[in-house]
Amino acid sequence: MDDESLTTPYFPTWCPGCGNFSLWSAFKNACIKEHWDNSNTVLVAGIGCHGHILNFIKLTSFETLHGRPIPVATGIKTVNPLLNVFVFTGDGDCLGEGGNHFLHACRRNEDLTVIIHNNGVYALTTGQTSPTSPKGYKSKSTPAGNTDAPLNPLALAITTGATLVAREYAGNIENLTSLIIKANNHKGLAIIEVLQPCITFNKRFTHSFFRENCCRLDPDFNTANKQKAYTKSLEFGIKKMPLGIFYEV
């Protein structure tokens, strides 16, 4: 298995420099390493720039409705537990339109890998504020600045019952590849928040912003401690955006 066999007739239509490119590479590398092919793997995506990924990886997939990839994936995995099932979702898709499904998938600890392309914006609809946009964030829908507090997907996942919760920056391709493999091997729900720069609509969460402010979790961090994982997941600020596995049980 090689990159060639995963190639579709379509080259990604994402904006040049979009964080989705490196996420895409990281996922394909994982496929090659792990021999994920059409006999054992299915991809499920929501609607948004993130969802387009399905057209660029030659693996059987389901492009669902906006907000609905998690329940569709749940149905697939429930009736065919032998499949590796991956969900590609956005911050809007997963936490806005599909927020209820996210909570309940965590609660049920469904055996899925959910990759949240978190760019802090509704990108496909050309740049409105999303549930993870920071307070004060100016966008087409919040010209005077966002008045709402952002949701923290990791904190949510930890408190509601997901059993592997991690964050990675899209540009760290190798780390992301091994994280995706780990998540797939995990029995139970694995949530990976990928910090994915939308270079067109989010001028705050840029590649250089993440490179400057992300830090790695201490290798000795106790990932089995729910309280500590939760507290750690709340850290999100200048020079203080931890990457790695927060929680794994």
């Binding site: 059409n38 329940p71 569709v72 749940t74 149905g75 429930t78 009736v79 065919n80």
Partner: protein, 572 residues
Amino acid sequence: MRIKKVFSLKIGGCAGQGVKSLGLLFSKCLLHLGYKTYSYIEYPSLIKGGHNVVQISVSQNQPTGPTTKTDFLVALNRDTLDKHLGELEEGAGVLLDLGEKENTLKVSHKVKFFGIPLANISGEKYPVSNVIALGALVALFGGELTILNGEIEKEYRHEKSMAENLKAAKLGFDFIKKNYPKESAILNPLESLTESPDKILDGNEAVSLGAISAGLEFASIYPMSPISGIIHFLASHQKTHNYIYKQPEDEISAINMAIGASFAGARSLVATSGGGFCLMTEGFGLAGITETPLVVIEGMRGAPATGLATFSEQGDLSFVLNAHQGDFPRIVLAAGDIREAFDLTRKAFNLADKYQTPVVVLLDKNICDNSQSISLPNSPYTIDRGKLTTDRVENYKRYILSKDGISTRTLPGSGNFFIANSEEHNEFGYSSEDSGNRISQMEKRMLKLETCAKKDMAPPTLYGSKNAELTIVSWGSCKGSILQALKDFNNVNFLHLMWLNPFPAKEVETILSQARYIIAIEGNYSAQMARLIREKTGIEIKDKFLKYDGRPFFVEDITDKIHRVLKDIKNG
């Protein structure tokens, strides 16, 4: 007491008094006596308190609809007497608490009262007073206590409650034998069967049995009246029949889970009422464009919004026919009774697989919750999964254009690549906004409906003689009362519609254009079926007999209407 064609027994009490289980157990006893039954249940959306009624039609031949008049009333409380005394026929019987006997003589004609100490006989009030009444009923109807004991043992498996109920039944039974020794049976037993070939089933059970026998593999259902019974049945039989019931967080999730399961190869079902179907409309179209088979059971109740939660209506027809934006092929069937609910559920699974599209079976609360004696057929059923391959196919195209609109489906894990895509897509499933592709994919999907109309659509059923003075057109649960009413007329026929999309326009047009006088009967405000008939055939039905008070059409409603119209016709 004189044996009538259909004997009507009514049981009333407050919620929590066990009205429903009394009705069910007594219906089962009646089977042993050789009778057929039909039960109509009316209850408020409450767990305790409020007025509950079961009306059981009893006859040698299968009764099919609810009636208003009453030949025998079981009053578990005072409220029941106040509400229903006026419905008693001349010579009717009333079973009531001894303490009530004196206060009730406000009926003009002759009624016979049977006072039994419902409340005090066992020193306990609830929950066994219903079983005391049951014992008394069996005695009054000429049954043996052993029959009732057998049914109680089947119903109450828990040792303590079984013993308690057996005791209560005997108390009621013995009290009648001792205090009314000369009373002849209210209905003479026709037979004495240890095992009846019939079962008492409600529509929810019939749907569940239909689904299981059709090879159900996955169901996700969010609770809602009147279909919650389907959950209760399916959830408790998973292990023995090898399917999965999963409780979703809402109806949006329910339909999306079922679509995922179906995409992965499982025969999948969702069930809901109108309010839940509102949430499902989004997924309904997703199944349409991704060509994913799906069976949707829609049990209608009073609408809009929360509406009349535990009452019936047929107001979702237009909604279901038009739900979701744009066009995609949907098959919509409506069951008229419990037997049709069973048959159409089974058929829906094959149609969904064959046409790779969602199939709705419309029911109404009168079918979901009402029960009747029935023997389900061992009729052969062959699972038809349609065009489906799990083999590796060279250059596989999931949405390949074809003469009948149907492409060969495959499953994830088969090695074949494809995308099930909610966006418009090309033959492989890749997103495509190309104009030519859009046209051909749209036409391909819609062609499936034409294929279905040619190959599978059944013509509507015409009951009664072809040459009638009056033709009734109806659908859904009205069928039962209409058929029952028609027994008194030889010049009235009845066109019963089951296929609503695709629609048998030619056959309906032929029959209706020859009819001398047409009445449309349906349980909604805006005559949605009549509107559909006009859309499909151009025939405007002027006389619309509509009901939207949450209650079913009682047999008397239909009979009276027919009499009025026949009289008008006669008088020109």
